[in-house]
């Protein structure tokens, strides 16, 4: 794959974040942000499946593991910015908001939107990942050598 430009790297990051974010949290932050831009559908929300692949032995030949549900859509804002969404699950409203965020992130409102929606989403994901990692860490085995009878 070719090297991504800084803009593409940014876009990849926010689209990835939107795909994984819990729908309820995205709705709440989007509502609070209060943006309601006019747009036209390029592709209305559509629920489908993506075939997830693995590799034999984790590093070898690819194989088809199974599908996951994904919803996608594309839209155009009045100023011409185009937003796409590919989000996990079957929530069309989540896809719509994700595509609007994707479009608005290419406009002058990007900084405000990042602060109001993307940063809190990212912090939420990081918090939950940290909490799980902390619970896993508590179940990490610490081996110790038993004191043998003759040394006691």
């Amino acid at each position: 794959m070719t090297e991504l430009s800084p803009d593409q790297t940014d876009r990849k990051a926010w689209m990835s974040l939107l795909a994984k974010a819990p729908a309820a949290e995205l709705f709440r932050l989007w509502e609070a942000h209060g943006a309601a831009p006019a747009f036209r559908w390029l592709r209305a929300p559509e629920v489908g499946a993506v075939m997830v692949r693995g590799r034999a032995g984790a590093v070898g030949a690819p194989f088809n593991l199974g599908e996951m549900s994904v919803t996608r859509c594309s839209l155009r804002l009045e100023d011409g910015a185009v937003g796409h969404a590919y989000v996990q699950g079957r929530d069309k409203e989540k896809a719509r908001i994700a595509a609007l965020v994707d479009a608005l992130m290419q406009t002058g409102g990007a900084a405000a939107l990042r602060a109001a929606v993307l940063d809190p989403l990212e912090a939420g994901l990081a918090d939950r990942a940290r909490a799980r990692a902390a619970k896993a860490a508590a179940t990490r085995v610490e081996f110790f050598t038993m004191v043998r009878g003759e040394n006691a």
Partner: protein
């Protein structure tokens, strides 16, 4: 032979109404919600996602509710639903090395980077019924937290690979065949086998794996590593021309390290079996790895000892519980005409046999 007959519509309708009532059970007991099933029967949900071959916890929970907890029926519902979904694309292969691990254990190395992490396991529980769970409203205490170490959790097979002690995996980016698109063709090849095993019936794959341990195609497995956790799923988005994450899935991965004394074509080295399954499904993932290894006898130049687990055709044609139950259960549906002709035949044969006996007696 099929002959169209009508009748039974009312009986069928009434049977379905009664099914709905029985599904609900005693109405003085609170109804289960889909969210309760998703959260509290998570391992059943995981099995339905793995064998239904569609990662969607809410749908799997709904299927379990609808099927009254009959997991194979739930898997059937998911398989039927997934055929209605348009295919939006194919993901990049998931990177299990970058997994956020809930659990990671190795039976081959005690001390290894990333450590032995037990996770939320049934292992080391006493398997005694916990009657405290029968009382409602008891919330468990929060699980203790430790300090996560910022360190990579490399695959155990990497260490052996570095020393050249294990058979390397062939690097490839070949497009794998897809069972959901083309009918199964033999010889299947490893990618197709792995797909079939990953969605195969847990009981069947477990039984096959167990048979190898008991001596039917023994291959001396060690669990080199078992890991469970979330991996990101990336897909190239055609509108953008680059890959983005489209979600994350919890998977269980098992890598076995198998004793191998060498063959005509391969030097003595360890060999690998591989299991990768949606959800927290470790019994299935370990079973898959054992059966994967058994099926690799030909490429490793091993003898075919005639064990069932070495027989690709036998394993792949019988691992799918939806195909199996479809064929099995169809015999309970009306076969009146078929049976009528069998009945005629038996009567005729008996008549003829009776006549022959009488004739002999008379002569």
């Amino acid at each position: 032979m099929y002959v169209a007959v009508k009748g039974g519509e009312r009986a069928i309708e009434n049977a379905h109404d009664w099914l709905a009532e029985e599904r609900r059970g005693d109405v003085s007991v609170a109804e289960l919600t889909v969210a309760q099933i998703r959260e509290q029967l998570a391992l059943a949900v995981n099995r339905v996602m793995a064998e239904g071959s569609l990662y969607d916890p809410d749908l799997a929970a709904l299927a379990i509710k609808q099927s009254r907890g009959d997991l194979i029926e739930a898997i059937f519902l998911i398989r039927a639903y997934r055929t209605t979904l348009p295919r939006l694309g194919l993901s990049e292969p998931v990177d299990t090395g970058a997994m956020a691990v809930d659990r990671r254990v190795s039976a081959t190395f005690k001390d290894l980077p990333g450590g032995q992490v037990l996770g939320p396991t049934f292992d080391y529980t006493h398997r005694l019924l916990d009657f405290a769970l029968a009382a409602e409203g008891l919330e468990p205490a929060a699980a203790p937290e430790g300090t996560p170490r910022e360190e990579p959790v490399p695959h155990v097979t990497e260490f052996l690979d570095r020393e050249g002690l294990i058979q390397p995996e062939a690097e490839s980016d070949a497009t794998p065949p897809d069972l959901t698109r083309e009918p199964l063709k033999l010889p299947a090849g490893r990618p197709l086998r792995l797909q079939a095993l990953s969605r195969g019936d847990e009981g069947f794959v477990l039984g096959m794996a167990y048979s190898t341990q008991r001596g039917y195609g023994r291959n001396h497995p060690f669990v080199g590593e078992l890991r469970i956790g979330k991996v990101a799923v990336e897909m190239e988005v055609p509108e953008l021309g680059f890959a983005v994450e489209i979600g994350e899935v919890t998977v269980t991965e098992c890598e076995t390290v198998n004793q191998f004394t060498g063959s005509k074509t391969e030097p003595p080295q360890f060999t690998r079996g591989y299991g990768l399954v949606f959800g927290q499904t470790e019994r299935k993932a370990i079973s898959m790895a054992l059966v994967d290894r058994a099926l690799r006898w030909a490429e490793l130049g091993e003898d075919n000892v005639g064990a069932p687990a070495q027989d690709e055709e036998f394993v792949l044609y019988h691992s799918d519980n939806i195909q199996a139950s479809g064929f099995l259960e169809h015999i309970k549906l009306p076969h009146y005409v078929d049976f009528q002709s069998e009945l005629e035949l038996i009567r005729k044969l008996r008549r003829e046999a009776g006549q022959a006996t009488r004739q002999e007696a008379a002569e």
